[in-house]
Point group: C2
Chain length 588, copies 2
């Protein structure tokens, strides 16, 4: 450290050539909110000079002309699940760096649910040598609800404490179990204590919380949120000093409402930061990454400089990453050059003073990660399901069954209905109710080998089947379909890939996305992956699934933390009472 610092000091004072001088830029100053011409000198990966556009030291080793361009700090995504991009960390980096995202704070919640500590270690290893700076928050809720589902791992206080001691681990990730925090349930309390004792940042997740419950949640430890949507909720959380993570994800966006709040307050409060949370490959390919969030912020009414501050300095301060988030001496040389400050797109992206992307494309090779976990098939079923395994059998002797059905209505909590179905050859017959289909969740972590079979109404799927090993949060094998045969085919296809998404109709695979890394991620680059995911989405739409985001519907079906009902590998669940519900309406 000593020597590296000394070399940078020598370069700063002009006794050693700069590695790079960026000339002619217009600096966006995130401290003072000013915009003015300044050159930027870089040595040893850090900024060592920001000043009047005439460097008077010795001839720099390289120069970069930035006349007519604005220089901004690299964007900081304060909360993102790389797994949602369905890309390996390396390919994720290649996809987001050209969009100006130079630091991400990741929550490897999904891979942790599949592979536990190994999964988290994998994310650290796979990001160690990337030009993207990756800090990690420890997944706090693995599994989301231990009593209701079988994940690939369970994190208690000891695992949390162990991970918090690892390098580049900077906090506890979104504490979704707000009921546990507010109620000070034993599991949550001990997990929070592990983080409180170390004094690390504890991130939150508390949609809709307000008043005394919200205060109790904050007092319990977590002090951020990215779930709020409404005006009152968002402003209320800002007022309470929570780090409000303005989000533009594939599921949801809060930036429009926050733009109205910023306009009203006249500035972006220091506790307002930005994140992408979950972005699917097609959205990433079409819209971009943090640059898209910033553009949306500006469109929503953020003054451009405040949008930049929010995406840089505020995020750095939130996560206590003091070495970045601004263009100033002593900061890491993570720098974007953009031509239009009101519609920023990165012409050049520098990380640690190295040009890594230009005109939307990477210009440096990425290390090709070769990791045990990447070569491992994590779809551990006792055997691939046969069609017969996926038929919903009536109880012996029944001619008709009154059965409970998970019911989806857009914009409403997931409900439960009771319907009566005929029985044919011992199997419930849904052929007369095309809005009802089968759902199977197969434990795929090699732990119980168990599975559940139920019915769901309102997915929109009219024919065929779709299967996925992306199935929040335990990421068991989820199969949705109208015929056990199509369902079995989709499952077999996925099992052979080691995970992924597959759409089948009439014994024919319509579309598929292999996700061999933990059943969640692909080693393919974005330009190959996004078309596959798009094709799968189109296939699903062809089978009747509505809306722009049928994948979101499928991925969330097994999530036992969404009100009010759900289905896991262990059966139908009431997420409010955290109890199982019998399939048959005449059973309690």
């Amino acid at each position: 450290m000593a020597q590296a610092t000394s070399l940078r000091v020598e370069a700063a004072r002009g006794d050693r050539p700069l590695d790079l001088l960026i000339e002619g830029a217009t600096l966006v100053n995130v401290f003072t909110r000013e915009v003015y011409p300044a050159d930027i000198g870089i040595a040893g990966g850090y900024i060592v000079h920001v000043g009047a556009p005439t460097w008077q030291g010795p001839e720099p080793l390289a120069r970069l002309q930035a006349h007519g361009k604005f220089a901004l700090p690299g964007f900081i995504d304060t909360h993102v699940h790389i797994e949602s991009s369905m890309m390996s960390p390396a390919e994720f980096a290649a996809a987001v760096l050209p969009h100006g995202t130079t630091t991400v704070v990741i929550d490897p919640h999904e891979v942790a649910n599949v592979a536990g500590l190994r999964g988290v270690r994998y994310m650290l290893r796979a990001t160690a040598d990337l030009p993207l700076r990756v800090a990690l928050q420890v997944p706090s809720c693995v599994p989301a609800v231990p009593a209701l589902e079988t994940a690939g791992a369970e994190f208690g206080p000891q695992e949390i404490a162990e991970m918090l001691s690892w390098e580049r681990v900077i906090g506890l990730a979104e504490v979704m179990d707000y009921v546990g925090v507010i109620g000070q349930g034993e599991r949550m309390r001990h997990i929070l204590d592990a983080a409180l004792e170390r004094g690390v940042v504890i991130s939150g997740h508390c949609p809709g919380l307000s008043g005394r419950e919200l205060a109790a949640y904050i007092v319990g430890g977590p002090d951020s949120d990215h779930e709020g949507l409404g005006y009152e909720e968002l402003l209320g959380k800002l007022r309470l000093g929570m780090a409000v993570e303005a989000r533009v994800s594939s599921f949801s966006e809060s930036i429009t409402m926050l733009g109205a709040i910023v306009r009203q307050l006249g500035f972006a409060p220091p506790n307002l930061v930005m994140c992408t949370d979950d972005i699917f490959p097609p959205d990433l390919a079409r819209c971009g990454h943090m640059d898209h969030v910033v553009r949306r912020a500006i469109a929503a009414g953020f003054p451009p400089v405040d949008a930049v501050r929010t995406a840089t300095l505020h995020g750095a301060q939130r996560h206590r990453l003091y070495d970045r988030g601004a263009l100033a001496p002593g900061k890491l040389a993570d720098i974007l050059l953009v031509s239009d400050l009101s519609n920023p797109r990165a012409d050049e992206v520098l990380v640690g003073g190295q040009l890594v992307a230009r005109a939307g494309r990477m210009v440096v090779p990425l290390p090709q990660a070769t990791d045990d976990l990447e070569r491992e098939n994590t779809v551990r079923l006792p055997r691939p399901p046969a069609a017969a395994d996926l038929a919903l059998r009536a109880r012996p002797g029944q001619q008709r069954e009154r059965v409970r059905v998970l019911s989806l209505v857009p914009g409403q909590p997931r409900g439960l209905e009771t319907i009566e179905l005929p029985v044919r050859d011992g199997v419930l017959d849904t052929s007369a109710t095309p809005d009802v289909c089968l759902i199977a969740i197969l434990e795929r972590h090699g732990r119980t080998g168990g599975s559940s079979l139920a019915l769901v109404k309102g997915t929109g799927l009219q024919r065929g089947a779709v299967a996925s090993t992306v199935a929040h949060d335990s990421h068991n094998l989820l199969i949705l379909g109208h015929t056990p045969g199509d369902m079995a085919l989709a499952a077999a296809q996925i099992a052979s890939w080691g995970g992924g998404l597959c759409c089948v109709e009439g014994g024919r695979v319509l579309a598929g996305v292999p996700l061999p890394i933990a059943g969640l991620m692909s080693p393919r680059p974005l330009h190959e992956l996004a078309p596959l995911v798009d094709a799968l989405g189109q296939a699903l739409q062809g089978l009747g699934m509505p809306g722009p985001n049928p994948l979101g519907t499928i991925f969330g079906l097994a999530l036992p933390v969404i009100p009010r009902y759900g289905v896991t590998d262990r059966g139908l669940v009431d997420t409010a009472t955290q109890a199982f519900i019998p399939l048959w309406a005449d059973e309690e």
Copy 2:
């Protein structure tokens, strides 16, 4: 920790009575810059509720009516030397708490120069049980210039590292040796490395630095400054992301200029904080403490809410004290109630939810510190000087001497003049030059027993003598006077007190301030101490010393880091070349 958190969470959610409910207040929100009515609920020393003015939980254990008052967070002084107040830490706390200062970040630079690690430990012990929250930064330059003076201790990298491991030690204090930082001198580099390796805040001190030198200084580690005065310098440092510590001290103020900058920028940048640095007892008694800085800020053009933010949230974030600086759930219940937001004076001051001061007076007793160091006489002279020791003798056989004289001209660097003086009875006779007097510096730490004797012109002292063990930075015994007899009397008086200030004329003590704690601090409360210091100042003015702050002149005479010349226990020094200068003009 677990249990305490749980109790607070229970109170927050309304399942346990609040300890205190502050009702009817108008909240100053330092996040959103809004001001609106809100009640504040407190439990276990923390804020657990901030909300609509109707608490709906169980009956609180106590209520505090705050109708018509503004509630603000307690003020945070980001840089202060308690020793400059000449009070013990306990009496300092009693003096500043009624002024709304609830957290101070101290640099025990003076006591460290006298008593080394023991002195720093003393400051930690003496502040451990105070209602004032005291965090400590490690003095970085003890002594200021090792080659030129004899201090009571020397701190190298090992001592720095040891202190950084102590509780409540949060960083490295003002790194004054900017030449050492920029030049990467060995001593300074190792001291900085000790701090850089631990990732703690490194505070700076770099008056007048700009351009490449300033960048080199920041790149070297320190990233704050409280010395800047001019518009260009202050704005320049803000632009570079330095924590600019707006200062109102007994010597200097930068708040007026910063007010102009805040008006121009339209807001107070997040890296602008506030400090008092050095405040003498009379100023503290007359003007107040951090409340005075805030009032001065408002008078200088800070919007009141921005002045409050700067004095609270910004300071907390600067020093990474995430548990304070705002009125929000989960923060320490350090709260001020003031009637006039544009001229804030604390009607009530709460620390950790306890009322500690009301209407300018403490309402809780302070622990009476009894510490070894407080009972120890740190004025360790071989023997008190006799008058003959303080006579400046000519070289043998000389009838006249051409002698170098330290020369003070207001607003200019300290100069050096040569004057010719007659010799009478072997002693230089200054009786015909009343603007020239003797200056003696006696090493008083029991280390060398050495002393120096020289002449100084332009102090304004016309008659008599003054002595002080407050003599930056080594705090040796400084004696200024016209007759060796008066000088010896002043020194003897101070030695008997164990340190302090004393003014003598014609064999009579005119005024004195005993400072028995390390020769720097008094155990007396402010209301007793301030009049003594005032009387001493008046006595000095009576002896001809000009201006409002003669003490400042005296205290700085032995400081070897002020351009361009000075005098230490080892003789006349050139502070630029760090070399000694012979007294006699015909010697080189």
